[in-house]
Each structure stands twice: as C-alpha cells, then as structure tokens.
C-alpha cells in the first residue's frame, strides 16, 4: 500500500454557506422532492437560484442526514421523519436540561 502525506486547506461551513440541493441529496440519501418537502414543512430553509437551482444552508446538513437515515432505515415517509427529528431534538434538549438540574442537585 502506498502512503502519501500532505496538508489540506479546510473550509469551515457556517451560517453564511449554502450547498446545492443536489449535493445535499447525495450526502443525505434524499431525493430532491423530499428536500423540497422538508423545506415546505419548515424543517430546513431553502433558497432558489434561478433558473432552477436550489440551495440549502450548510448548517442544515446534520439534520437532513438524520432524516435521510430515518427514511431509509426505518421506512418512514418525509413528514414522519420530520416529526421524529423534532421529537428527537426535543428529547435531547430535555436530557440536557435534566443533566444540568442533576448537576445542581447532586452532592458536590
């Protein structure tokens, strides 16, 4: 096996970065229709670049990947996966708040 080492320039994606919807589809195993439906449901923002390009904020990628996994692995539809995503996020937030309260309540 050949080994090559080099240093890479990394670009950190933040709120100002948008990714083509087609690229998002491939990364998240979603089709374009599903991404549009998720935008209509308010799960992610989307913007149209005329004539027919769609872009999604890079920050939405982790959420869309969860949706893609839920749809693919559990066989749920777009709205079901969107609902599950929101419930999972709510659960995570509640767990975080419980941990905070437990720290406050625990013996030091």
């Amino acid at each position: 096996m050949v080994r090559v080492t080099h240093r890479l320039e990394a670009h950190v994606l933040d709120e100002g970065d948008w990714i083509a919807a087609t690229e998002i589809c491939q990364l998240c195993r979603l089709d374009l229709g599903a991404v549009r439906e998720l935008a209509e449901l308010g799960v992610v923002a989307a913007r149209e670049i005329p004539p027919d390009q769609w872009q999604i904020p890079a920050t939405a990628l982790p959420r869309l990947r969860v949706v893609g996994r839920l749809m693919h692995d559990l066989g749920v539809n777009v709205s079901g996966a969107a609902l599950a995503l929101e419930l999972l996020e709510a659960r995570r937030e509640l767990e975080r708040r419980i941990r905070t309260l437990e720290r406050l309540a625990s013996d030091h």
Binding site: M1, V2, R3, V4, T5, H6, R7, L8, E9, A10, H11, V12, L13, D14, E23, Q26, L27, R29, A58, T59, L61, P62, R65, V66, G68, R69, L70, H72, D73, L74, G75, A84, L88, R96, R99, T100, R103, L104, H108
Partner: protein
Amino acid sequence: MEFRDYYKVLGVERAAGADQIKTAYRRLARKYHPDVSKEPNAEARFKEMQEAYEVLKDPQKRAAYDQLGADWKAGEQFRPPPDWGSGFEFSGGAARPGGARRGAGRAGRSRAGAAEDGAFHEQDFSDFFSSLFGGGTPFATAGRGAGRDHHARVGIDLEEAYRGTTRTLELRRPEVKPDGSVQLRTHTVRVTIPAGVAEGQLIRLAGQGEPATGAGQAGDLYLEVHIQPHRLFQLEGRDVTLTFPVAPWEAALGASVTVPTLGGTVEMHIPAGAQSGQKLRLRGRGLPGQPAGDQYVQLKVVLPPANSPQAKALYEEMRSKLNFDPRANLSG
C-alpha cells in the same frame, strides 16, 4: 472468521418469506436505530441487522447464503467453499468504490470517508460478509463513474474547540495502475480545525471525497465536528455553563471568587443575596466566534455539615436569631 447466522440475527425462520424478513428488520431497526435507540450497543446491533438484511432481502444473495447449508452455527469458524458463488450472475467489477474506513475520534488519527456517511456501505460489514459478497466475488459492487461527496465525523474535546486543533485522517482510495490492476492508496492528510468550531459544524475538504473515475471532478469530504462532553462545562451553541459551588455566606453576603473558564481562571463577583440556581454571565468567555459565546456560572449553594459542636452551635444560633421560614410560600 466466524460464521454469521443472518436468520438468527433477524429472529426469523429459514423458511421466512420476504415480507416476514422485511417486517422483522423494520421492527428491530426501530428498536436499535442509532439515531433513536438508547439500548446499549445499539450501533453494533444495528450494523449486524443491516448486514443480515442486506443478504436476506436480496433473492440472489439469500440463495447463495442458503447454499452454505443449515448446519452452521453462529460463531463457528468458517471459510467459503472453493466453488463459492458459481452459478450466480456476475454483476460487476472486482474493486470496491472509493472511500475509506470508519473511525474518527480524539486519538488524533482517524480513518474517514465513504463508510462515515451513515449510509449502508459494504466497508462497514464483517469479514464474513466481505468473504462472501465483497470484492473479487460475483457479488462485488460495480465502480461508480462520478466522484461523490463523502462525510465523516470528527470528535474533539471542548478545549480543542476553544483553542483549535489538528487531526490526521487516513483516506483510502483504489487507484488503477498502468497494468490495469487496482492498488489501494492511503492518503494521510492533516486537517486544521480552527478555534471556535461549534458542535455539529461542518468542515469541507475540497476534492477529498470519492475520486472521479472519468474526466469529472473528485467529490468533497465533509467533516462533521462532534465535541465530547466535558467534566465541568456544558455546551449549548457557543455558550458554556459551569455549575459553581458556593458557601451560604458567599451567597448571602457577596464574595469575590476565582472561576475556571475555557481560557483560564478569572475573578468574578457574586452579588449579595444570591440564590442557589442563579446564573451569572461572563460575557465572551464561551467558544470564540462572531459573536463569541458567553460563560454562564450557575450557583449552587452547598451547606457546611453540622458535624462539630461549633458548627452545630452556629446553626442553633441562626435558628434562634433569624426569622427565616423557607416554606413561607407553601401556606395558603
């Protein structure tokens, strides 16, 4: 390698129909899916199930697997028979499509690539699966033409997120040699993760995804940053919260205290009359950014134990001299 009983993994009979197999997989997937499950070893169980389902849902793979016979037991030492795969339709090239193997974390050296994108990939599967259905067999996956984007996860500490850090990634890709054979080439790359990167933030490495097999462009590699839980600080966005123990007299009378932050210790004033649970803000002491996050110091009043005559006497004195009813709000 050890034999894997795919029927046992999914909990179905060998004679189960396609619908039964699908139902069993869906039922178990709901229980063990890593995104939803709280079960221990959910991810490992889910991978086992995915592997079993990948074989049993495909009539050709299932028929070939069944040909091994029903006498094998899970965990038994196994080697594919010499005529393995004969009689099945040849479906593609011998090499697996690009990418790399799973593994990212705080060790500082990670393998990243196709298997990291959370999707089904044969690279994630066992040696048993690979020996039956991987490269060099009639079931191998055909190479793709386009250079696809890849996704990987990188775990870092909160301190590394605050100061910035570097990670070494090993990206493995097949390359065709002049004689037509395929050689696996490892690219070791060092990636700088800048200070102030937040949980879930993405880093794009242009051209480091799947190589193009034709004249097209190579895909990009997206690294998703995950910040490990910290012993002291809890992270929310760019803000951090510290639970900070104080003595009753510090809360009652006010005090100047030394508080740990990600950037080192700072002096902070606790106002007189502070209560347990109250949050004080240290502006700009969270993760760097535009704007930088804040640090919240949540006070936790800790009572000294009444474990000496002197301590008991002080508590007695408070009881007799202070007109204090902590339950005053409970009465109608």
